[in-house]
């Protein structure tokens, strides 16, 4: 599992020491807020509605049991006993005091964690598939490339002054669980006609105010050419990037303005001009990094586990959970356990100190000490033997964490919204709670089938509403909360941006509106057709009619 090398460790310690000094100087008045603000943002400290918020990076969403325990301890000692797992696969604390934050950063450094570089106009943490290294459909573990990209971007002078924040996502599997098409740069691994694995390079995707699906700049690239190629992409971008207007400077706007063809042409020209130097160095570095992500020593197991099959026969709740929340593993006899943080009436992504400790314990006992965070605000135990699934489920079930709704209607993404966020125009969490209560019946959720509902509290789209099958965006209409519904978004390998259905709704009206959309789908769906497939076949009209037709 991933560990810092020496360089990172020293760097993090130095930054923490600097931050302690900066906080002291802020509290004594030596630094004004204007001087201090950029420094605290560099260390992941934001000022929110009620208090400061600390955003802790979780590289590749991968955590060890001791790290999770430390996060739990920080929640208990320095916060209000809980943390919030976000769509960026990190954790946020909602109530830390500034004067405590240097200690918190020290505690994070003790377990090789930090809050650095989660803000500003630089390359953010590279994100990836939450099932990296374990998914049955995966070609190769994408995390070594992620780590190579992180190092490359953080050391590269050209990236220090990017016009805008810059996000990269990477997936090593045909099924895209990392939403690569809505990032500034997306990398998607494929095999070419000769069966050789290589990378599709996408660029110009994004959410926020101007959502766009990325264009494919190159459909297949051998891995050794990846960094030089990305350098070419970045140089073309930096050459044109508009720093004069903060809403226009994203790479998606550039590609939109130049046209995909012209952007491609310029990148290829730049790539051909610069050549591909230093290839061997990178290959050596990649091999070194890959060792950090080496899987645990798998036991030689039969893929079918009799214990597991018997347990399913004996317990219907367990069988449902196993069907919905457990995914295929690449190693025989193993499974990927997904822990939904979306109980009925809960706050999506929130976990208490006790819950974090329980998951840490379970990972220690059953999952090679490892935990993942997903961009759908859930947790994963990536290395569970099938014969242990019942024991894991029982422990989760006792704690109310065996919620069998993964990828279904109750598995709702919601950003913090106006309950916490200073930028919000409306609340998100109560809408998620209302919908979760209305559709609490799991049998009904299974009948509806795979469905994503994502909610954002403002146009920044942290709740990924643009790429939800049903997206909900909270807006302010004359001082009142109002919600726009979009349909037809997706963030997988067939990504699309949802379309606004029509006039918005008040918060109280949203659950009924969702109900009508679901009823319409059920009435018109074809044999085993999912919601998204139905929407793509019939378009928005039947849904509009159901919602807006005057009686």
């Amino acid at each position: 599992m991933y560990r810092y090398d020496e360089f990172d460790h020293r760097f993090v310690r130095e930054r923490t020491t600097q931050f302690r000094d900066q906080v002291t100087r802020r509290l004594s008045g030596e630094l004004t807020e204007d001087e201090f603000k950029p420094l605290r943002l560099m260390n992941g400290v934001y000022l929110q509605l009620h208090a400061y918020m600390l955003r802790v990076a979780v590289p590749y969403g991968t955590l060890s049991a001791p790290q999770m325990r430390q996060l739990a301890m920080i929640a208990e000692r320095y916060d209000r006993g809980y943390g919030h797992f976000t769509t960026r696969q990190n954790i946020q604390y909602n109530w830390p005091a500034l004067k405590d934050l240097p200690d918190v950063l020290d505690h994070l450094a003790e377990v090789e964690m930090h809050a650095i570089q989660t803000s500003g106009n630089c390359i953010r943490n590279v994100t990836t598939d939450q099932w990296a290294g374990v998914a049955a459909d995966e070609i190769a573990d994408p995390r070594p490339i992620c780590e190579l990209l992180r190092q490359w971007s953080s050391l590269h002078p050209e990236f220090s002054f990017l016009p805008r924040k810059f996000k990269i996502a990477v997936t090593g599997a045909p099924q895209d669980r990392a939403a690569v098409a809505v990032h500034d740069i997306g990398l998607h691994m494929h095999r070419n006609a000769d069966g050789e694995a290589g990378w599709e390079v996408l660029a110009g995707g994004g959410q926020g105010r101007t959502p766009m699906i990325a264009v494919t700049v190159r459909d297949w690239l051998p891995e050794r050419e990846l960094l030089p190629y990305l350098e070419a992409v970045m140089r073309v971008y930096n050459l044109h990037g508009r720093r004069d207007n903060k809403y226009k400077a994203r790479i998606k706007i550039l590609i939109h303005e130049l046209g995909a063809e012209e952007f491609r042409r310029q990148v290829e020209e730049e790539f051909a001009r610069a050549g591909t130097p230093e290839v061997e160095v990178e290959q050596r570095e990649l091999a070194r990094i890959a060792a950090y992500f080496a899987p645990p020593a798998y036991e030689d197991l039969q893929d079918v586990s009799t214990e597991f099959e018997l347990a399913k026969n004996g317990n219907r709740d367990f069988a449902n959970w196993a069907k919905i929340n457990v995914a295929e593993h690449k190693a025989p006899g193993y499974a990927i356990v997904n822990i939904s943080l979306k109980p009925v009436d809960g706050i999506p992504g929130d976990a208490t100190t006790e819950e974090m400790n329980l998951v840490a314990d379970l990972s220690e006992r059953y999952s090679a000490n490892e935990i993942r965070i997903t961009h759908r605000q859930n947790l994963v135990l990536p290395y569970v033997r099938k014969r242990d699934l019942f024991a894991v489920w029982s422990a989760l079930n006792d704690a109310g964490l065996a919620i069998a709704n993964l990828g279904h209607l109750g598995d709702i993404i919601a950003c913090p919204g106006m309950d916490y966020c200073a930028l919000a125009t409306a609340r998100s969490i109560p809408i998620a709670q209302d919908i979760s209560r209305k559709f609490a019946d799991l049998k009904r959720q299974y009948d509806v089938g795979p469905l994503t509902i994502n909610i954002s509290g403002c146009i920044n789209a942290c709740g990924h509403h643009h790429v939800a099958h049903i997206g909900i965006l909270g807006v302010d209409k004359k001082g009142k909360e109002f919600y726009q519904i979009t349909l037809g978004g997706a963030s997988d390998e067939n990504a699309s941006i949802g379309k606004i259905l029509g006039p918005g709704f008040s918060g109280e009206e949203v659950p009924d509106a969702i109900e009508k959309i679901i009823e319409t789908y059920i009435a018109i769906r074809g044999e085993s057709e999912t919601f998204l497939q139905t929407y793509r076949r019939v378009g928005a009209d039947p849904f509009k009619e159901a919602l807006y037709a005057t009686a």
């Binding site: 004594s28 807020e33 509605l49 009620h50 208090a51 706050i347 106006m418 309950d419 916490y420 609340r427």
Partner: protein
Amino acid sequence: MTGKILTANRVDDGLVVFLNGRGEWAEALSEAWLGEHDSTIAEFEDIASAAGAGTEVTDVYLFDAERDGDEFVPAHIRERIRALGPTVRMDLGKQAEGIGGAFNALG
């Protein structure tokens, strides 16, 4: 009667505070000073720029509120939530400490 209240976040712990009649930063909205005249509001603006440069509070600004009996009710839901705490965690924030106010975040 409507007026304006000066609010900020405290630097050391980040919590929401309101300017009271003695020129101090109070945690409870009910202790705030409701500026109802142009002259008071002009004074608020001076206090805001001085306080914003100081060490006690940060992000100082004015919001609209209305007097309702003994308490003040912010005009906008955002400020009502700031004065109370998260609507989804009634056990947290000022509402949990009994200093939130009797009004509802939803108005």
